[in-house]
Amino acid sequence: MKQFQYTRALTQQSAIEAIAKPGTKIIAGGTNLIDLMKRGVTAPDKLVDINHLPLKNITATKTGLHIGALALNSVVSENSLVLQKQPLLSMALKAGASPQLRNMATVGGNMMQRTRCSYFYDTTMPCNKRAPGTGCGAMEGINRMHAIFGTSDQCIAVNPSDMSVGLAALDAVAIIAGKKGERRIPFTEFHRLPGDHPELDNHLAAGEMIVGVEIPDNNFAKNSYYLKVRDRQSYAFALVSVAAALEISNGTIKNARLAMGGVAHKPWRLFDAEKALIGKPATEDSFKQAAQIAMQGAKGYQYNSFKLKLAPATITEALKHAAGLA
C-alpha cells in the first residue's frame, strides 16, 4: 500500500478546500474506501477524515426529512422519525451489509460506494471503470451479478447500494456542497449510467462533497416494502431488489413509487410502471402488469439472464407486500 497523508477536517469549509487538491479523497466510515485501497483499486495521496463535521443530524423540516451525510446507516435505520415517516428507507438500510458495517457506514459513503464487480476489484483484470480503455472483463466473463438495464458497451456493472434504491424511490434530493456553495440534485439524477465514461459513477463534480439528503413528506408510510433477493438470507448483495411504495385508497392505487437495485449502474427508478399503477386496483394482476412494463428495454448477458424473470417476479412480490397482500 502506498504511503498517504491523513488529515481531519474540522469544518465543512476546510474539507471542501482540502478535496480541491487532486489525489485527495474523503474518508467517512471507510468500509468501502479502505477495501479499495487495500486492493490497489484506488491510491489517494491524502485522506480527509470528515467524521468530525456536524453532519450527523436527522431532522424533520416543514416539507420533509433532512438526513446529514454522516448519519450512520444503523442510526438512520433505527431513527424514530425515519421509521414513522419513511419506513421504506429503514427497510432498505437494514437489508444492506451487516450490523457491524452499518455501524460504520455513513449516508454519504453509501451513496458513493463503488460497484462490487470482481473485475473492477482485481487489478490484474481488464476493467474500463478502474482503468479506462482496458476493456470490460465482465461483458463476456462472470456477469451473474451484472446489469440488465442501461448498460453500455463499455461497462455492465451495477450500483450495489440498497439505501440508494430506497432514496431513489422516495424522491429524495441530494444536497451537495462545493467551493461555489450548495446545490441540490434529485436523487434519481445523482448516479450516472456508464455510457462512454464508466469511470464516473455519479454527477458529483471534483471538489464537491455530499452534505445530506432530503426526503419530501409523502403518504407511503403505510404501504411500503423493500424486498431483496439474494444468495443468502443476510450479508449478500442483491441479485435483484425492489423498493415499492403505494398510496392506496379504497383498494385503488392513488400514487406509486418503484425502484430496483441490482439491475443497473444506478438505482433504477420505474417511472412508467408507477404511472401504470395509478388508478388501478391494488391487486396482483395490476402489479404483474406494472412489472411487465418495468421490464421494457431489459437485456440479459450470459450469466444474468435469470434477472429477466427474477426482476418482474420481485417487483410483483414487493408490491404485494406493500399492499398487504403477502
Partner: protein, 711 residues
C-alpha cells in the same frame, strides 16, 4: 440443554486467551508475504525484484532464481524428473496454476512486506491453459487406486423394470475456516527448527517438513495448540509453510507468514469440482437391481488427487450389481485436497439424490425404499458390520421432523406463500481406528495430566479426552489437564477421517486404565473403585505415578466392516416467485456408537449440517476460464451460511456402543455430519417444487429459471 461437559477451552477461546499459530512473537521475528502468479500456465520469463528489494524494511526477496536448494525436492543424479508428485516451491520457472507463489518477500513489518510484494513484477510466457472440467472431461484418465470396480453384472440397472439415469455436479468448494493459515518458522540451529503452524497433525507436519528439508525428525518441533477450523485444509505441508521455513533460514530470523483470504482459495486445497452420472434400477416393488456410478473429478497437472466419490454406491445399500467408473481430469489449477466428508460427501449427493428420484418413480416412500434395500452385512466385503443401527436412526429422524406431514406429491403444499417440502438423505463413512499413544501422569496434588500429540481443529477433542479420563479415573474434570498440539508428546495421528476420538480416545482410555491399575496394585487387595490417588502417592512417598501406552485396533478390523452412519431430514420453504430456499428445519441423526462427549458431539453435528447447507445452497468457487483465476476469492462473494440461513438444528444420536471398535464403543462422526446433507436439501426442494436441481448450489437463479408452480 445437552448434558455433558462444556468445552474445556471454551473460556480461553471466547476471551482471546487461546493463542493461534499467528499469535506468537519469537524475538527478532520478521514477516513474509507471498507473491502469486497472475497467469495460469506457462513460465516466468523475467522477474524483477529490484524495486521490492529497495523498499523500506525489506530484508530479502526469494524467487526461483535465488532460492536455496531444498534437499527433499532434488532428484537423484541421472534419474528423470518424476511426472507427478507434490508441488515444489521455487523449483523452476514453470507456472502450473493461477496464484502459484513466485516469490516471498521478507520485511521487518507485515505492512512493509505486503507493500514490497506489490512491487515484484514478473513477465511470463503464457501457454494455453485448461481449467474447465466440462471441456476437458474427454481427456480424463483412471487414477491409481480405488476407482473402476465391478460387483455382479455391469450396467445391470438397465435391465430393471424401473430405472433412471441422471447427471449430478458439485462445484469446487473451499474449506473457509475462520482462522487463516499461518506459520512462524524459527531455526534454533543450523539443523534445528521450531514452527508454530496451523495443522491438523503436529507430528505429520513434523515428518513432512523433515522429508522436504531432509532434517532428522527429532530436530523439528511443531506446535499447534489451537486451530480455528481446518476441515481438511491443514493435513499436509503447504508451499507457504516451506516458504516461511526457507525464508527464516535465509534471513537468519524467525519469519511469520500469514495467508490472506484470497490465498485461502489457491494455496491450501479445496473440494474438487466433480461430475457424476448414476444409473439406478429397481424392481417394481423397490428392490435395487443395479447401480452404475460414474465420476470425473478435477485434479492438478502435478498430482493425482483421488478421493473416491464412488465408494458410497458400493457399500450403502444391499444391491447385487454395482459398477463404478472414476476418472480424474488434470487441470491447470492447484491440487484439491481432503475436505470434510471427502469423497463420500460428493458421492452421496449423487447417490442420495438418485435414490430420491427413484422413490418418486416407484411411488415408494424414500425411507421405505432405503429399508427395502437395507444392508445388514457389508455388500462389498461380505463382512458383518461392527455395528449398524441406521434403521433406528431413520425412525428417530422421521419422528423428529414429522415425516408423516410430508406430502408424497411434489409441489402440492404451500404455507404463507411459500412452497413446503420435506427431504432426507443419508451418509456413511469408514469408522477408523489408527495407532496412538498417550501418557497419563497422576501428580502429588491429585491432578491428572494427559499428554498426546493430537490436534484439536474444533470438534472439542480435549473435552472428549478429559471426559474419557474422568470417567475411567473417577477424577473431576477440573483436576485434569490435557496437553496436546505439540509434536514432542506421545504419538498421535493427524485429526482427520473422523478417527480421533476412536483412536486417541482409546489410547487415553488405556493409559488411564493402566494407571488406575497401578494404583490398585499399590493399595493391594483392599483397593476401591475410587481410590484417593493423592493420599496413596503420599503414603508411598511417590512424587507422581505415570504410564505411557500405545494403542491400536487389532484383528477385529479383519472380521468386521466398520462404518458410521447418518441420516438428515430437512424441511424447506421455497418461494415460488423468487426461487429463494429457506431451510426451515433440520433433524440430523448419527449412528456413531457411544457418544463420549454429548455437548461437543452435538456441535459437531450442527457444524457439519451447516457445512452441508452451505454446500447445498450457496458454496461455489467460480473460475473465469478465460483467465483461469478465481473471481469470488473473498467472503463477500464466496458465500458460506450466516446465522439467518440456519434454523435450529436438532442433533439426535442412536448412542449405542459399537462392541468391536474400541473400549468406549465410540465411532467417528465429523464427516457423517455433512455427508448426505446436500442431497437431503435438494430432495426437500424437489418435494416442495417438483423441480430437481442436479447441479449445486441451489441458488435462486436456478429455481427461477425452472418456473415454479403448484401442481
Amino acid at each position: 440443554m445437552t448434558k455433558g461437559m462444556s468445552r474445556i477451552d471454551g473460556r480461553l477461546k471466547v476471551t482471546g486467551a487461546a493463542r493461534y499459530s499467528a499469535e506468537f512473537t519469537p524475538a527478532g521475528m520478521v514477516y513474509g508475504v507471498l507473491v502469486g502468479s497472475t497467469i495460469t500456465k506457462g513460465s516466468i520469463r523475467l522477474i524483477d525484484t529490484k524495486a521490492a528489494e529497495r523498499a523500506p524494511g525489506v530484508l530479502k526477496v526469494i524467487t526461483w532464481l535465488n532460492s536455496p536448494k531444498i534437499a527433499g525436492y532434488q532428484v537423484e543424479h541421472g534419474k528423470p524428473e518424476p511426472a507427478k508428485g507434490t508441488y515444489k516451491l521455487f523449483y523452476n520457472n514453470k507456472i502450473l496454476f493461477n496464484g502459484q507463489p513466485i516469490a516471498v518477500v521478507v520485511a521487518d513489518s507485515f505492512e512493509r512486506a505486503l507493500f514490497a510484494a506489490s512491487l515484484v513484477k514478473a513477465q511470463y510466457n503464457a501457454d494455453p491453459h485448461h481449467t474447465n472440467l466440462r471441456d476437458n472431461a474427454a481427456k480424463a484418465f483412471a487414477p491409481e487406486g480405488d476407482g473402476t470396480t465391478k460387483r455382479g453384472t455391469e450396467d445391470a440397472w438397465k435391465t430393471a423394470p424401473v430405472k433412471l439415469e441422471q447427471e449430478y455436479i458439485i462445484p469446487s468448494e473451499v474449506h473457509s475456516p475462520m482462522e487463516l493459515h499461518a506459520i512462524i518458522a524459527k531455526w534454533d540451529a543450523e539443523d534445528k527448527l521450531t514452527v508454530w503452524t496451523k495443522t491438523q497433525g503436529v507430528q505429520d507436519t513434523r515428518d513432512g517438513i523433515a522429508g522436504i528439508f531432509k532434517l532428522p525428525k527429532e530436530n523439528i518441533q511443531v506446535n499447534s495448540k489451537f486451530v480455528g477450523g481446518a476441515f481438511g485444509s491443514a493435513l499436509q505441508v503447504w508451499p507457504h509453510e516451506v516458504a516461511a521455513i526457507l525464508a527464516a533460514k535465509a534471513v537468519k530470523r524467525p519469519v511469520k507468514l500469514l495467508l490472506g483470504r484470497a490465498d485461502m482459495f489457491t494455496s491450501v486445497g479445496y473440494r474438487p469440482y466433480t461430475w457424476q452420472k448414476i444409473g439406478i434400477g429397481a424392481t417394481a416393488d423397490g428392490k435395487l437391481v443395479g447401480i452404475t456410478h460414474e465420476a470425473i473429478g478435477q485434479t492438478s497437472t502435478y498430482e493425482d488427487f483421488n478421493e473416491g466419490p464412488i465408494g458410497v454406491s458400493r457399500s450403502t445399500y444391499a444391491c447385487p450389481n454395482v459398477n463404478t467408473i472414476y476418472k480424474l481430469a488434470a487441470l491447470d489449477i492447484g491440487s484439491p485436497t481432503w475436505m470434510r466428508g471427502p469423497g463420500e460427501a460428493t458421492g452421496a449427493f449423487a447417490l442420495e439424490s438418485a435414490l430420491d428420484e427413484l422413490s418418486y418413480e416407484l411411488k415408494i416412500d424414500p425411507i421405505e425404499l432405503r429399508m427395502k434395500n437395507y444392508a445388514s452385512t457389508d455388500p462389498e466385503s461380505g463382512k458383518p458390520f461392527s455395528s449398524k443401527f441406521l434403521d433406528e436412526a431413520y425412525k428417530l429422524g422421521a419422528e423428529g421432523i414429522n415425516w408423516k406431514d410430508r406430502n408424497a406429491k411434489p409441489a402440492s403444499v404451500t404455507k404463507d406463500g411459500w412452497m413446503v417440502g420435506y427431504g432426507m438423505g443419508g451418509g456413511m463413512f469408514g469408522a477408523y481406528r489408527d495407532k496412538a499413544a498417550a501418557k497419563a501422569i497422576l501428580m502429588a496434588d491429585g491432578t491428572l495430566i494427559i499428554q498426546t500429540a493430537v490436534s484439536d481443529i474444533g470438534p472439542g477433542t480435549g473435552t472428549a479426552m478429559v471426559t474419557i479420563a474422568a470417567g475411567v479415573m473417577g477424577i473431576p474434570a477440573d483436576k485434569i489437564r490435557f496437553d496436546m498440539g505439540d509434536s514432542s508428546l506421545p504419538l498421535a495421528p493427524s485429526q482427520g477421517g473422523s478417527a480421533t476420538t476412536a483412536t486417541v480416545g482409546s489410547a487415553v482410555y488405556q493409559a488411564c486404565t493402566d494407571l488406575k491399575e497401578k494404583f490398585q496394585k499399590l493399595i493391594g487387595n483392599g483397593g476401591t473403585d475410587h481410590p484417593d490417588y493423592a493420599a496413596i502417592l503420599k503414603q508411598h512417598s511417590l512424587p507422581k505415578l505415570e504410564v505411557t501406552v500405545e494403542s491400536s485396533g487389532g484383528t477385529e478390523r479383519d472380521k468386521y466392516a466398520f462404518y458410521s452412519w447418518s441420516v438428515h431430514f430437512i424441511k424447506v420453504l421455497v418461494h415460488p416467485a423468487t426461487g429463494v430456499v429457506k431451510v426451515d428445519r433440520a433433524v440430523c441423526v448419527a449412528d456413531s456408537g457411544s457418544i463420549v462427549s454429548p455437548k461437543t458431539a452435538r456441535s459437531q453435528i450442527v457444524g457439519g449440517a451447516i457445512g452441508g447447507i452451505g454446500m447445498a445452497l450457496m458454496e461455489e468457487t467460480v473460475i473465469d476460464h478465460r483467465y483461469g483465476n478465481i473471481v469470488n476469492n473473498n467472503f463477500a462473494d464466496y458465500h458460506v451460511p450466516v446465522n439467518a440461513d440456519i434454523p435450529q438444528i436438532e442433533a439426535l444420536f442412536v448412542n449405542k456402543p459399537d462392541p468391536h471398535i474400541n473400549p468406549m464403543g465410540a465411532k467417528g462422526m465429523g464427516e457423517i455430519a455433512l455427508i448426505g446433507m446436500a442431497a437431503a436439501v435438494a430432495n426437500a426442494v424437489y418435494n416442495a417444487t417438483g423441480k430437481r436441481v442436479r447441479e449445486l448450489p441451489i441458488t435462486p437463479d436456478k429455481l427461477v429459471g425452472m418456473d415454479l408452480e403448484l401442481s
